[in-house]
Structures are given as structure tokens and as C-alpha cells.
Symmetry: C2
Subunit: 424 residues, 2 copies
């Protein structure tokens, strides 16, 4: 049996070239202009799984983008691992902030940032990590050392709420039956200190629209007499946080788990430098909910952020217009026990209730997902920790992440199995 | 001498065709992508003045777009009228709200809105009115009945602050010497009740930029820990009005002229239906400064409106991003005695002062202009009123407009003459 390090060394150039081809495809699921590229990416993923040695590969049609399914059943009596990943990526804008084109991968030649790191949209979310699993599988097949059954389920709508995945999972419980699920789509404390994410925040994502007058107006003739939808929207959004940065939506905190002082003290032991954090972001100060540390604010506390806002004239120069409409995309990160559909409904009710009579307001729920906590005494967690310990020489630290992978809660509900969030 | 009504009737088709050709040119001064069309429009205006009978026509170069100057000197001893207009137009976006393409003029065939009205960007701001003066002049030349000297000065940067016009007027006082200035760039009470605008509001237009972290961040990992520039911007903008919709910038109202109860009672006599106003705009309620009526709010009171706002992800679908930057365009309408440069400085100081330490703020003044009041006992006003009375059968009503024509104050300062704002 070939040593895995030798195998990687002998095949490095091929691995890199294949991954780079995958990264070149702009599989932006949020923008329908890229639909052709999203499909092409699915095709490439399917071919890579076939080449790696799966018995069955299948392009599963859904109401949205297809799901790539593949499997290798060694022996039905052995345990089965389901590997989940996604082949879609976030939009690349604002394009001007990229130092190299997002879909022309560059291997970092310098010592600034990790040498050898690949810069491209999707390189670390999630094409790179997904590909790592494909290649680990390939190694085990080629060396006849695969100790369990493996299934792959790679979707194309993770960045837009995984709607088709829910549809697919609900209809394919048998096909997807497994003992443990592996997802590599979370971060690691550092390149020398591995970590396994045990907690995830939930998400509620909405879009709001404020309409004032039925058409754009001249601000000279109408300025001061009508509700300006942009001014009103800013007032409404501003009112969603109080002076302590608590969220003001009634009922929002009702089900939030309050951690004990002991638990918070344990969390506070994780290595963290506020100075380095501020320096890395070039900010003079952090900003958040009163009474909580930075690490608590982005893990055990829910938040509300505007992810996008637009209205009126945004081009070059000046236009003295009062826009008819103003818009914002708003997302709330939720913690375990908060139900995203309940929070979405609370937000909608509250946001509509605070609108002045001079405007009309629409709240359109985009998508959401539940928060999640993984037990660290499970076999899956212990196996992952053993693999990390062998590779890095130190055991992994369990951490809670501020991000959301709503499908983790879905998997538990539909497939009755736990997920291990193993970083790559 | 041919009767003017007959002249208009006999030349109507030619007049309309010429105006339509002028309206087809997208002379958007705010967007440099249209610079070629702005220049082409200046050329067409110059040709029309030559054809109408001016002795001298001149394309006057400036640091920006050229100014079309033309004159007919009948006798240096006679009074001279200077006609001002502008050949540039506002940007046409949001394009989807147009029922016909903005630069493909349509003559309204229905009875909804005035039959025969031309729908096109610039049709009533200001190409149509400017063209009316050219054709009135043509009539008087052709019929040898021009009773005074006439000068035309038509600029191409009115919609972006008339910077080059200021430059030009300051350098050409002799060329522009006149006894009265005519501008047709304001509204009329109705098609049967003429009005002459005697007051204009000033303007201060700024752009603000709020910067938080040095790059776009994932809202899952950073949500709750850093100042989100969009949330901060909404809080800052929201704080610019108090609960009575008074503007909170310190010193903002210091020089605002407070009208007497008698003056306000006189103003209140102007015909106005709040119900029709709301109906026309399809709003359930008006909105504005406490203690003032709608007609006062848009004429004798200063205002602050956001004209544009943008930041983060504004495309289709959802992106869970915390943007590095957020922007807004904000304009303040000012009343006589408020100095626009002083107000701009007050705004800038205040806006910077209310920024939390977690962000940095830039305020970039765009342009501005002073408010203005015209005396109704001047010869110019009386002559205009006489013309209106003969044409409409009723005298004009003097009104104050909420809009701004900053150059009116400039003309008074540089050319020492009064302006009559005569609607068309």
C-alpha cells in the first residue's frame, strides 16, 4: 500500500490542475446569468467522482440546480459515511476589491498569506474542501484500503439557501441512508491548531422594500412634504438595535440559550488577541452587543446585519431625486433553540408595524435555517479528532462557529444522523 | 405683421419636429458616458439660435461643457433681456419606471395627462421651455417686431451644479450685460392659472462614505463583532431628523427666516387640496416637519433628503456579506439667508462627529447654491405679469418654489440684475 504522503506528492500536479479547472468555472448560484456555468461545474464534479472510483454516479435533477450523487458500497454491513459539499460559489462582486480575477486561480508565490494557497472565488468555500474528500477517496480506492461505504452528495444552491437540497433529501432518505455525515465548510483556529466546529448559528434572511410616492419625485418640489423611502428605511433599520446593540424585535431573544458563567469562562480560554483582530480588519474598535465579548458575539449570540441596501440615484455625480422605493437585504444569525421561521415571522410583523402611514412596506423572506450543536462524545467526532491528532500532532479543539449551515439541522431531521464539521 | 397664433399654427409641425430631434439626444451631464451626446446637443442648440436670427452665435468653451451664447442687438440704447436655459438633462434611471423610452419622445395621444404633451427626458426640464424662447424670438425676428436686445446663454451643467457657468459668468460680465434675466425652469399652478416664482430654495449636496472593516466580511463569522457600515450609516442618517422631523445638525436653523403669521396666512390662500395631492402620489399620508403645512414644508422650510444610498450586495438573491463600505448622497434644500457653504460645513462637522469609533467617515461636498427672493414690484416682474394676463386672461400669482436654481443668486451677484422666473 502506497503511503498517503507519497501518493499526494506523486499526484500533486494533476490534483492542482484538476482543482484549478474547477475553480475557473464561475458557478454563481445567486445570479441566473451564470446558470450555464453552474451546470458545467456540476458536470465536472460528477466526472471527478467517476474517475475517483465511485460505482454509481448520478446527476439528480431537482426543481433548481442538480445534485451530484455518487457512492461506493464496499459491504452493506459496514458503516456508511455521507460526504456533503457544494459546487456553487458566492457572487464575486465588488470585483474591484480582488487583486487577481476571481475566476482565474492564482497560486500564491509569496510568503504573504500562506505560500501555495490558491486565490480564487470558491477556493475555500467550498470547492477546495469538497475536492479534498474526492481525492482522499481516490487514494483509498487506488490502494484498496477504503474501510467503509462512502456516499457523496454535492449540491449547487448552498449560497442561496439549499432549497433544492431540502426537496431532494426529503424524497431520498433511503438513497442517502448513512451513519455519519462529513462536511468540510467551516474554518480552523490556525494551520497548526486543528478545530472541529460543534455549534453553528441559524439564519433568517429577508429582503425589505419601502414604497413612498408612486414615482420618483424632484427633491426641490417635494422635499419636506412626503416620506422619503430611503430616509424612512434608514430610520426603520436604525431602530432595530437599541443603544446597547440589543435587537429590538419583540420576542427575538425569548428562546435564546443563556450560557452559564462556567461555560462562558471555558469559551474565553480559546486563544484570541483583540489587538490583532482589530489590526487585521484595520478598525479602531470592535462593535457589538453590550455585555458580551467579541468571541461570544459571533458564536453564542444572535445578530442582525444589513447585507445590502439600495435606492435612489447611485451613479456618478448628483441627482436631486426622491426615490419611490428603497430596498435592503437583512440577515439575522440565530443561535440554537431560536426557530428561524418563527424569527422570520416576528421580524416581518415588527418591521411592518414600525412603518409610518406615509409608506408601504413589504418583507420577503429569502431563506433560513436552524442553529445546531454537535455532541463531542459521538463516534464520528472521536474518529475525526483521532485523524486530526495523527496529522497535526495535537488534538482538535471543539469550537462554536458564527456561520450557518442550515442543512445540518435538515440532515438530522430527515436522515437521523449527526454531522461532523471537519475543516480542511 | 403676422399674428403670433397664426405663426405658431403655420409652423407647428416644424417646431415640433425640431424639438423632438433635440429631445432624442441623451444629454445626461451627470454621467460621463454621455459626454458625446451632451456636446451634440450644444451644437444643435447653437444651430437653432443661428437659424432663428441671432447676429452672433458662439460656442463658449469652459472647463466643463460648453455654453451656447447668442445675441441680437437691435439698438445698444434699448434694454437688453438675457435668456438663460440649459440643454443638459437628469439621468433617466430607474429606466423601468418609464412607460416609453426616455429618449424616444412620444406625443401623448390620450386625454390622460394633457393631450399633446411630449413625454421625454428633458421635455419640461429644460429643453422644452428653452426652445419656447428660441421660437418666440424667431417670430419677432421674422415679423420685425423685436422691441429690445436679446441675449441667450444656454448651459450644459445645470443638473450637476453649474460649475462651468459660474466660471463663465465671472469672466464675462460685459458680454452678458443685461437689464433683466428670463428663466423658464419652474412650474405653474395650473394650465389655466399662471404663476411666477418669486422665491427659490438653496441647496447643499453632499456624498458620504462610511468605512468599517478593510474588506467585505462573511456575516456568519463576523456578524455581531464589527460595526457594519450599512447599519451604522442608517443609524447616522436616521439621527439627522428628530421625532418632529426637525433637522438635528447643530446651527442648521440659526439663519432661517421665520415668516410672520400674516405672511403664512397669505400663502395659505393658494389653492391646494391635500386629498388630491395624496391621491396623485398614491400615499396614505404626507410626512414632514411638525408645525408646518405641506405648502410651507416645500417652500419656506429647509429639508434634508437622502437622494441615493448603496452598499453591500444588491443583486439577485442573497449574499451573507458585511460590506466594507456604505454610501449615500444627501441633499439639503435651504431657504433665503441660509448660506449653502456654511450649511455644508455644519453638516460635515456634525456627520463626522456622530460616527462611532468603529468606522471612519468621509463627507464630500458635491455642489450647492443660495436661496433667492425676487421683488414683485420690479419692471421685469410687471412685464411678465402683463404678458401672462394677456395670454391667460388672468394675472399671475407670485409663488415660492421648493426647488433650487443656484445660478439665480450668482446672476444677481455677478451681473447685478434681477431674474424673472417665468414658467412655460
Amino acid at each position: 500500500m502506497e503511503n498517503i504522503k507519497e501518493y499526494v506528492q506523486n499526484n500533486k500536479e494533476r490534483f492542482l490542475n484538476e482543482l484549478i479547472e474547477l475553480l475557473k468555472l464561475p458557478s454563481v448560484s445567486a445570479d441566473s446569468a451564470y446558470s450555464h456555468d453552474v451546470i458545467a461545474t456540476a458536470d465536472m464534479v460528477l466526472e471527478s467522482l467517476k474517475a475517483a472510483g465511485c460505482d454509481t454516479v448520478e446527476m439528480c435533477e431537482t426543481p433548481g440546480y442538480p445534485i451530484v450523487f455518487a457512492e461506493k458500497i464496499v459491504d452493506p454491513k459496514l458503516p456508511t459515511v455521507l460526504v456533503y459539499g457544494h459546487y456553487d460559489v458566492q457572487p464575486a462582486d465588488p470585483i474591484e476589491l480582488w487583486t487577481s480575477p476571481p475566476f482565474e486561480p492564482v497560486i500564491n508565490p509569496t510568503d504573504i498569506h500562506p505560500k501555495g494557497a490558491i486565490f480564487a472565488r470558491g477556493a475555500c468555500d467550498d470547492k477546495g474542501q469538497m475536492y479534498m474528500h474526492v481525492k482522499a477517496f481516490e487514494y483509498m480506492i487506488k490502494n484498496d484500503c477504503l474501510p467503509c461505504n462512502v456516499k457523496f452528495m454535492i449540491e449547487g444552491e448552498e449560497e442561496v439557501g439549499s432549497k433544492s437540497l431540502s426537496w431532494f433529501v426529503e424524497r431520498n432518505q433511503e438513497k442517502l441512508a448513512n451513519d455519519v455525515i462529513l462536511i468540510s465548510d467551516t474554518g480552523m483556529i490556525s494551520n497548526t491548531q486543528p478545530s472541529i466546529t460543534t455549534g453553528l448559528r441559524g439564519l433568517s434572511y429577508v429582503e425589505v422594500e419601502v414604497t413612498g410616492p408612486n414615482r420618483d419625485l424632484h427633491s426641490g418640489l417635494y422635499g419636506g412634504t412626503v416620506a422619503n423611502p430611503i430616509n424612512v428605511l434608514t430610520k426603520m433599520i436604525a431602530s432595530l438595535h437599541d443603544e446597547n446593540n440589543h435587537i429590538t424585535v419583540p420576542g427575538f431573544y425569548d428562546k435564546v440559550e443563556e450560557l452559564s458563567a462556567a461555560e462562558r469562562a471555558e469559551m474565553a480560554k480559546a486563544p484570541f488577541s483583540l489587538e490583532n483582530y482589530k489590526k487585521a480588519l484595520n478598525i479602531d474598535d470592535v462593535y457589538g452587543e453590550k455585555g458580551y465579548t467579541t468571541n461570544e458575539r459571533n458564536s453564542i449570540r444572535p445578530t442582525l446585519d444589513v447585507n445590502g441596501i439600495w435606492g435612489g440615484y447611485t451613479g456618478e455625480g448628483a441627482k436631486t431625486v426622491i426615490a419611490s422605493k428603497a430596498f435592503a437585504k437583512i440577515s439575522m444569525r440565530l443561535v440554537p433553540n431560536q426557530d428561524w421561521e418563527e424569527i422570520t415571522a416576528l421580524f416581518q410583523k415588527h418591521f411592518e408595524s414600525i412603518a409610518p402611514a406615509a409608506v408601504t412596506v413589504k418583507v420577503k423572506p429569502h431563506h433560513g435555517g436552524q442553529g445546531y450543536v454537535t455532541p463531542i462524545d459521538s463516534i464520528g467526532y472521536q474518529a475525526a479528532n483521532k485523524a486530526y491528532t495523527e496529522t497535526f500532532g495535537v488534538p482538535a479543539i471543539p469550537v462554536r462557529s458564527g456561520g450557518s449551515i442550515p442543512i445540518v439541522a435538515l440532515f438530522e431531521k430527515e436522515l437521523k444522523s449527526k454531522t461532523i464539521l471537519i475543516s480542511g
